[in-house]
Symmetry: C2
Subunit: 358 residues, 2 copies
């Protein structure tokens, strides 16, 4: 199976090899060392400001999104939520559930966010802005420098879901003035799913310490406190945390975060050039490096997903809901190469020849 | 490393081999089949009453304990919580956080729970009882038939944390009249940590559907709904769920749940007979099959843990807090054999010879 979904993605050999080991007992100084190292490399790769911390939650990206909404925000906040797809909608749902007063900036499918969406919200008492840097459901990358300027100008806390963009698109937490970054193990980190990661700026840490815990399991106070000794409050996905360590070290050895972003960017460019002339339209005018959303014309997108899976043993990523028959996505994160792109493109060309893609 | 902790424990070869595979994309009919099978085997092994469901949460046992407190109970309940150690204390903490009125039955270290603790609580409007069937921090197995009689007699909902007893001690959810059972991937299931499992009786399902969601990520409504199509609401620890499937099938092939409980019981008996005459005292008068708690006399229990780890490459399980220097635990769950017991006992005898255990 060749996997072009946006998660879980393909893992490299070092990560898979660790998957075959016995999982060690973890309340040990040895495991704490691994966790200190994980925290330090995540902060370095996120270009987090001095005094930031990162914590590791055993759960999906949604677990970390909810933990942040529950513990960095409070009902005394007033938040702007950018909603350009299903992950933006999830932030809206979380703010509603946890009674965070919020205003939703609802975008049409693949519509870019511009200053004209934000300017009317200036000077209205907003305290936080939540955005999915890449709205993975559509493949749109938002204009982060523009969002950052707006937040800085108005003293608004910037919370960034970078789940599918971390290590794939340039991100500089300090220069953006972002206070929270969220990512997951199964995206560009290319490890098995099961762990999500939150980076908190000093300002976000202050808020966590001032707010009451809403959920014990997702408590950021507990995560920060236990992290001081290189531990987690509850039994974590120990094996996945060891795999994350191997992968972070691999990125260091291969030139660091900027080199990794460049590698993903080149892989995306390679794929996009290879599909020129095929009956697909790029759905996103501002695509993330990590994923290409393709609109089909004469063929159900879901059928393309199914045939590629069943007859060619290649996974692309289907969309759900209304877009199911119109959009499929091709990921460029994980252990993929230009030669893998060629394999996928050849399969799709073969489907065209067979009349299965029109 | 030979691992006698109570989790993560040693995994068998089939489970570890799956750990080396690429993790597949999971929004597929193929993965749904695996999940239907997982649900069905968990229900069968728990001896759950007809109409029960099981759901799989990516998170630790605490995540599932909290999910149950949040969504099976509500502030209109009045709960009895058995607190005989750190996991009982966790249920108390969760009930406090989520404003579930509760009465704590606080037991001394390794004190058995008897009818005399429960009888004074009859006819006082209690609606639920929460108990850790095995209080893993002390190794005590509670008298479940006695607790069950009390709950049945007074129409009280019985919530059982069986995290460290499922597949290790006999458990019959239907005959106990239990409404909730909780377990985890890294205990007798002998898979990597990262997944916890909740079995809900029809009565518990009704409560979940009647109560509002307190947490989206830990929503049992969402878990039940998505489980109907063999899926989870959020990206789960897909690899661990495939490993759980392999392990459940292995238990079927080896004679089923009763044979597995018998295997663990024999392994515990073997260890306990081999340490006769050594300067340890069995701490628990009613030990779980899955763990033996040992009280040391002349030597720090934590030092024994450290020396076994560093010099003999064997992990036993240290205790925290006040018990750190007095108690260590030896697990009997996971891929262990009588010959592994001998290796551990020989190492401890060698430490006695060296004057390191007195």
């Amino acid at each position: 199976m060749l996997n072009f979904t946006v998660g879980p993605v393909m893992s490299g050999e070092a990560v898979r090899e660790i998957g075959s080991h016995q999982v060690p007992y973890f309340r040990t100084p040895e495991f704490s060392e691994v966790m200190f190292h994980n925290e330090q490399l995540i902060l370095q790769f996120a270009k987090a400001p001095a005094g930031s911390r990162s914590v590791f939650i055993t759960g999906s990206g949604t677990a970390s999104m909810e933990s942040v909404v529950m513990h960095v925000l409070s009902p005394r906040d007033k938040a702007i939520v950018i909603n350009g797809g299903s992950f933006g909608a999830r932030f809206v749902q979380l703010c509603s559930l946890h009674q965070i007063p919020h205003h939703e900036v609802k975008l049409n499918f693949c519509e870019p966010l511009t200053e004209s969406h934000l300017e009317p919200l200036a000077n209205q008492g907003f305290t936080a802005l939540l955005v999915n840097m890449g709205e993975t459901s559509t493949g749109v990358l938002y204009d982060m420098p523009m969002i950052s300027r707006f937040c800085k100008q108005h003293g608004i806390l910037l919370i960034v879901d970078a789940i599918s963009t971390f290590l794939a698109d340039p991100f500089d937490m300090a220069s953006l003035g972002a206070d929270v970054m969220i990512t997951g193990s199964q995206k560009a980190l290319a490890c098995p799913p099961g762990v999500s990661i939150i980076v908190l700026s000093p300002r976000a840490i202050e808020r966590v310490n001032a707010n009451p815990d809403v959920c014990l399991y997702l408590s950021l106070k507990q995560a920060l406190l236990n992290g001081e000794r290189g531990q987690t409050p509850w039994t974590p996905a120990v094996g996945t945390l060891l795999q994350i360590n191997a992968r972070l070290n691999e990125i260091v050895a291969q030139g660091g975060v900027d080199a990794e972003v460049q590698r993903v960017r080149e892989l995306a460019r390679d794929f996009r050039s290879k599909i020129a002339g095929m009956p697909f339209e790029m759905a996103s005018p501002a695509p993330q490096n990590g994923v290409t959303s393709l609109r089909t014309s004469g063929t159900s997108a879901y059928d393309i997903f199914t045939i590629l899976k069943d007859e060619y043993h290649i996974w692309v990523c289907p969309n759900g809901g209304e877009l199911r028959d119109h959009i499929f996505r091709v990921g460029h994160i994980g252990a993929l190469t230009p030669s893998d792109n060629t394999t996928l493109v050849e399969a799709m060309k073969n489907m065209i020849t067979r009349g299965l893609i029109k």
